[in-house]
Subunit: 849 residues, 2 copies
């Protein structure tokens, strides 16, 4: 027990060191802490110890009393309802926040189970404090705060502790030596400046124009003049994000920036593809043929009994609309987006490398395995873990099945409502369809949003069950589970629409029925692409609008409003109370930082929407771009204003998210191949044109895709109630499928055309997948992971370092020879004080002996 | 110019340092250098300077005179033909060897063009020597050697230079602290011991049972007691390879070991699959039907005019043989081998990580970019480079076309010879076939072997044209080009057999003719798989036998034999001469080390054979295994005995070869999918069984695959000369294809069955490719790249290091306090000499002041 608390102290301490070296600036802008003449002023709220000298580097909070003894204590504040409510909410919040950094869920669980005595708690806290002091940190306790029941433990890390830890961590620090930017760097900066409006906000003084030569910090190498206080004022460029929040958050914003930037070309090409569709809609022979009333094609009824025969010309509108999303440009766009995804990954890798260099992270190895040895002592065997793993697998499968069931339920809803509407009245068909489609899509959306929250909770619970060994392992497993569940949730309805809808219908006279007597739903005549498109549009817009704007902004605003209305204080009083609070008390009221996972997850799902079904919805990148431009600003505001400042964490890359992105861009190739070949009419059209067309044009394509059905072959009880609906007797109706006509030797069997088209579709999948994969790999191979200028710079730095040390070395040697000559002279300082002067013999010291 | 030579000196010097720190043992076993009582003896051949104290760490050679003035000089040796011949050959060799380390092909080219004056050469050499001396190395010139015209420059690196360079390189050195192996490590060692016979030879004293704690070498941390002379006696385990040759060669042997080890399960499963084929050959219904004489099927003639109709029953033998390689087990084996390839890559990654840890390479970054800044000064723009790149692309394409042309030539040879043989006599058909097949395969093989050598030269020439910036870039480009050319060379005939042969034939009455009147060749009845199999067998066995054994062993042996027969000296005299030579003179006679590329290339091509077409030849892994067991020993012998000791190079991984392996294993999935679905009869059989068979069995399959042809539809002049060959009049003959019968509405068109089978084949490709890729990615994700025990060990080491430094820190602090207390006491030694004793206050020094 003792070891554990000692250990955890050590860990905190490390974090704090890191925090204070890099983030030696607080929410209060630095300039406020200095008077006009440059001398420091110590405001009451200043982040300093009571001596006004030692800076507060880290604040820990603890409860002073048990919750049930507060009321007595808080009487000090009189009948101040607001404060009491505030305190209560804080109490809950802080408990949650306290549970957060404890990486071992076992212990957390134990904590909840056992109610420790007050004494035991105090004993443990005192032990903890002792351990902190032992490492050289300095403490100041503050129990008489404005927030009753909460004690603050302020931690100050003295200079020598900071130095020691920096040395342990081999923290690379910039030295006073400046590397001047070369031409490439200058051009890059220019581009950066031009595209500045896309990044959240660029530092006005552009701190990256000069790069300081870096070296792992060492007290023995102080002559390199480490520039430890080179902290630029707080503005909101990526590098300031990093200075304020640490590299991990900095990388998130950098990634979001790169992603948003990369969305611009995708959105532009998407819009062009869409416009191409709009422009060519009147030249499209198949839709012209459908809309031509001279082609008097009678179609088979769309539902049993209630529906009657209908004329193909009524599907004219849908056919024309379908062309917007189902034209040859879409195929080009799919290939483009597959390569775009690869380029994005490459671009990000390079940007990450560049940031690693600028942030002096090259050569930094992740330290997250640190906790392992501690946990290994309560090592769990495979047998211990098996039940947890089994639970995980079973629960995950169950939850995915639930998703499927819900999607199926929505389908049933659609089918049954449609059938019911058809039965009861004979109003305008298109109206019915629109209503059903709209409500179904909204239901889907609501279900997705609700399940998203449920799944997040389930994933957390399951991961806690598994008792992962390290913090990083916990996070990775949680992310992986959440990703699978959320992904299944978001994409199941879309996948159904793209690949299954209208395919499991059967044929006239032999329809497929589900749950008794409901016929599976068909697509509108011109393919399911249109409906897929609508669904994607609703999901993307709806999810982003509701989840981002409503949840992230609306609800907190609403809460604030409600609180203010209920509160007895008017705004002035509240402001005054607010002013009376210390800095750390104010921060305590803010919400805890829950990590970057939700932000990343949202973006990854969006990335999936943009890449996976881009073939069916070329406007997806545009929508994503618009969302992200807002998102990037909202996130920044939220992190700075509404959440407690997170513990700065160092990170070299975006971790598991990169793998998920890679996985998605791989899957995207296959999904797009299938969408183009199976969902769109691209392949059947090609096959018709080059194999079956008499004159090599598309004329006659519509007729070719429709099979014949003899109405006398309807199953008893399924023929239309009103066969004369169209005004004439129908003997043969048409339906969309490749089947033998009733007069063939094998009527209604799949025809040769079906197999030809199927073979063509599959051949397209094989060719598309392999060509795009080959091109992706080629692009991947062509673009070096490390930008040319960075690798040159790194190399230059290395050379400079070697030269520096070589000089130092020679200087030492010469000095040593000098010393040797002056043999008995025992001045210990001469060797160290003489500056290294290579090749020029140092002047002998007159002050020796 | 001055800078360049200085630079190159620095480079050599670094290499030499590395050599001497790590490889402080020579070909002479260490014990020979010490007398029985342990005092060193200095034999005449010892690798020491003439003072007998300073060790020779590196030897450079140079020419003393121009080649045309040797004869006069060599008169010292009298009319010693052998020596003169020897010298001449050495001269050529050494020149070649000298050109080798010069990384800049431009300069090498310049060297050849201009004939420098003797003085200029000497001046340059002296400048070079000066630069060497400036870096602190010590030199000894030896011009009066037994080999006339060659001067030896012996280099000794003193201890302080070694230390300095080790510090610069942040070379991780083992310290005296021992990490005891844990249980996992012990188990691993046990497994290693059991599988020992597979590795070239294992160190008898197993130096890996204990691991020394490592730390970047630093003179300031001497108290860690770096164990710099921990060199184990020279035996031939992997770790000794590494100690003797450097990490790069060590990694090659480790890789070869892992590959050979992994081939064992593949070979076993392959043999089982083959045996399964043998066992089920009599249960195979299609071959039974072919062999059944009651099925009186008349086949169409195999060539125009000369051939006549034939009975299917004569193809019985081929059909039965085909079953050995074309059965459901093959499909399983393909999937197995795809996963095997992934497992192999994973296993290698882990092994590499383990070696990195054992060899203290964790945290070592490659230093190959070192030369870049130098070359960047003669920076070539894109326009300068364009012609070279264009030449490369054009030449590569041209060479690949040459390969295609040669393969096509062999096909034409086969067709024409076969036609000619048919024309002239009517001897036994099978005899003719065997002759043609055999000669064609041998021609292919010979062409492959010859072109391999030509292509290697072309690739080198092309890479030199491109003037790559760094040594590593040169090597990578060369390897990549060589790989493409050799790969195309080795696999074009196989790809033709697998995917094109028998597919571009046309049909009876409408055959495809090439070069005038030659009909494209068909496969034997039961598919081309059998012929593919034979070709693979010949290529693998032939290539390995001829290239490895004949080229690598036979030719050197033969040369030696010839030389000895021609030489005037008998073996005794020669031996005596040999004994009179110094160690470095003897080594000078050996061949230069040309790099590992040829060895790797050979293995990669073999890996390609094993994985790419494994579906058609399950015995490939067995053949590869047998070859490698020999190869690994031959390579070891060659490196130690017949080549000069290479400059030790540090390497963390096998570099570009890993990427090539990965690429191959990816391509293998697709190729296998195509072999199974298009080359084998697996899919047609499945389709027949589940779609067309009347009773759900394979009965009738043969009949189903044969189309009908009306002999009256033969093109004029192509019908057989002897239509009554079989003894009866033939009206309808059969041929293997899915086409409509003559009596259909569209005679000889591709039938519905064709499209069904094609769709099934393509569906199989899509499913196989994606399932196997998914499984591969899953396996890749499942197996961590860093072995558990290694990551634990690394972590443990880190903790130990931190504890060590923490103690040191505390000790220093206490000592400093002590000093402070004894205020005026100015003894500089007390702070440094007192050993760090944490927590126990050091005793105050009595001898102070």
């Amino acid at each position: 027990q003792r070891m554990k608390s000692k250990y955890s102290c050590y860990n905190h301490h490390l974090l704090s060191i890191y925090l204070s070296i890099y983030l030696a600036c607080d929410r209060e802008p630095m300039k406020n802490l200095y008077a006009e003449d440059g001398s420091p002023v110590y405001p009451r709220q200043g982040p300093y110890f009571s001596d006004g000298q030692r800076r507060v580097d880290y604040v820990l909070t603890y409860q002073i009393q048990k919750p049930n003894s507060i009321r007595r204590q808080s009487s000090r504040f009189g009948d101040n309802n607001f404060i009491r409510r505030l305190w209560r909410s804080l109490n809950i919040r802080s408990r949650r926040a306290e549970a957060q950094p404890k990486e071992d869920p076992e212990i957390a669980a134990q904590d909840q189970r056992t109610d420790y005595h007050e004494d035991d708690k105090r004993f443990r806290r005192e032990e903890f404090e002792e351990n902190i002091l032992e490492t050289g940190l300095e403490l100041e306790m503050d129990e008489r705060t404005n927030i009753p029941g909460i004690g603050f433990m302020k931690v100050h890390a003295p200079w020598n502790v900071l130095c020691r830890e920096a040395e342990f961590m081999k923290l690379k620090m910039p030295t006073k030596k400046v590397l001047h930017p070369n031409l490439v760097e200058k051009i890059r900066l220019f581009i950066h400046k031009v595209t500045a409006p896309l990044h959240p906000k660029v530092d006005p003084n552009r701190p990256q124009t000069v790069k300081f030569l870096s070296h792992p910090f060492s007290r023995e190498k102080q002559h390199l003049k480490f520039d430890v206080v080179n902290v630029s004022p707080l503005t909101f460029g990526i590098s300031s994000y990093r200075k304020y929040f640490g590299e991990k958050v900095g990388l998130y914003f950098a990634w979001l920036g790169v992603y948003t930037q990369m969305l611009i070309p995708a959105a532009i090409v998407g819009v062009i593809v869409f416009l191409y569709g709009c422009a060519t809609v009147d030249d499209n022979i198949p839709s012209m043929e459908i809309c031509d009333p001279r082609h008097n094609i009678t179609m088979c009824p769309l539902c049993d009994r209630a529906c009657s025969y209908w004329k193909l010309v009524t599907a004219c509108g849908t056919a024309r609309a379908s062309h917007l999303f189902d034209n040859p440009a879409t195929v080009f766009f799919s290939i483009f987006m597959a390569l775009w995804a690869v380029l994005f990954m490459e671009h990000w890798k390079r940007r990450q490398m560049r940031l690693n260099y600028i942030w002096d992270l090259t050569g930094f190895g992740e330290e997250e395995e640190r906790e392992e040895s501690e946990k290994a002592k309560v090592k769990l065997t495979c047998t211990d873990r098996l039940p947890a793993y089994l639970t995980t697998v079973v629960t995950m499968v169950f939850m995915i099945l639930v998703t499927f069931a819900i999607v199926f339920g929505v389908i049933l809803y659609r089918i049954s409502i449609k059938a019911a509407l058809h039965m009861s009245t004979y109003s305008d068909q298109s109206n019915i369809r629109a209503t059903v489609k709209g409500t179904a899509a909204v239901i889907n959306l609501v279900v997705i949003i609700i399940l998203d929250e449920v799944y997040a909770a389930i994933a957390r619970w399951l991961t806690a069950l598994e008792v992962p060994k390290t913090d990083k392992s916990f996070e990775d497993r949680l992310i992986f589970k959440t990703f699978i569940l959320k992904f299944a949730n978001a994409f199941t309805p879309i996948v159904y629409l793209a690949f299954f809808r209208g395919r499991l219908v059967g044929r006239p006279g032999n329809y497929l029925y589900v749950v008794g007597s409901y016929r599976m739903e068909e697509c509108a005549h011109a393919g399911c692409l249109m409906e897929l498109c609508i669904q994607l549009c609703i999901t993307m817009l709806g999810k982003q609008l509701i989840q981002n704007n409503l949840f992230e902004i609306g609800i907190p605003k609403l809460k604030k409003l409600l609180r203010r209305r209920k509160s007895d204080l008017d705004s002035k009083q509240e402001e005054e109370l607010n002013r009376s609070l210390y800095r750390h008390e104010k921060d305590h009221i803010l919400g805890p930082f829950v990590g970057l996972s939700p932000e990343y997850m949202e973006m990854i799902i969006q990335f999936g929407m943009v890449t996976l079904f881009v073939a069916s919805f070329p406007l997806a990148p545009l929508f994503a771009l618009l969302n992200n431009i807002i998102e990037i600003r909202l996130d920044a505001k939220k992190f700075v204003m509404e959440l407690r400042r997170p513990i700065a964490a160092k990170a070299k890359d975006i971790g598991i998210w990169y793998n998920l992105l890679r996985g998605l861009s791989k899957v995207a190739v296959i999904v797009n191949a299938f969408v183009i070949s199976f969902t769109s009419d691209f392949i059947p059209r090609l096959v018709y044109q080059y194999m079956f067309s008499v004159d090599g044009t598309m004329h006659g394509f519509v007729d070719h895709t429709l099979s014949y059905f003899n109405v006398s072959d309807f199953q008893p009880g399924t023929d239309p109630l009103q066969p004369m609906h169209l005004g004439y007797r129908v003997d043969i109706c048409r339906y969309k499928d490749y089947r033998e006509p009733p007069w063939a030797s094998t009527p209604y069997e799949l025809s040769k055309e079906f197999w030809v088209v199927l073979a063509a579709r599959l051949a397209f999948v094989v060719v598309f997948q392999n060509v795009v994969m080959l091109m992706s790999d080629f692009v991947d191979w062509l673009i070096p992971d490390i930008p040319k200028d960075i690798s040159l710079q790194i190399h230059k730095e290395k050379i400079l370092m070697v030269e520096l040390f070589m000089k130092e070395e020679q200087g030492k040697r010469l000095a040593a020879r000098e010393n040797h000559n002056q043999d008995n002279c025992n001045s210990p300082s001469s060797a160290n004080q003489s500056p290294p002067r290579p090749r020029s013999r140092p002047v002998s010291h007159a002050n020796c002996c």
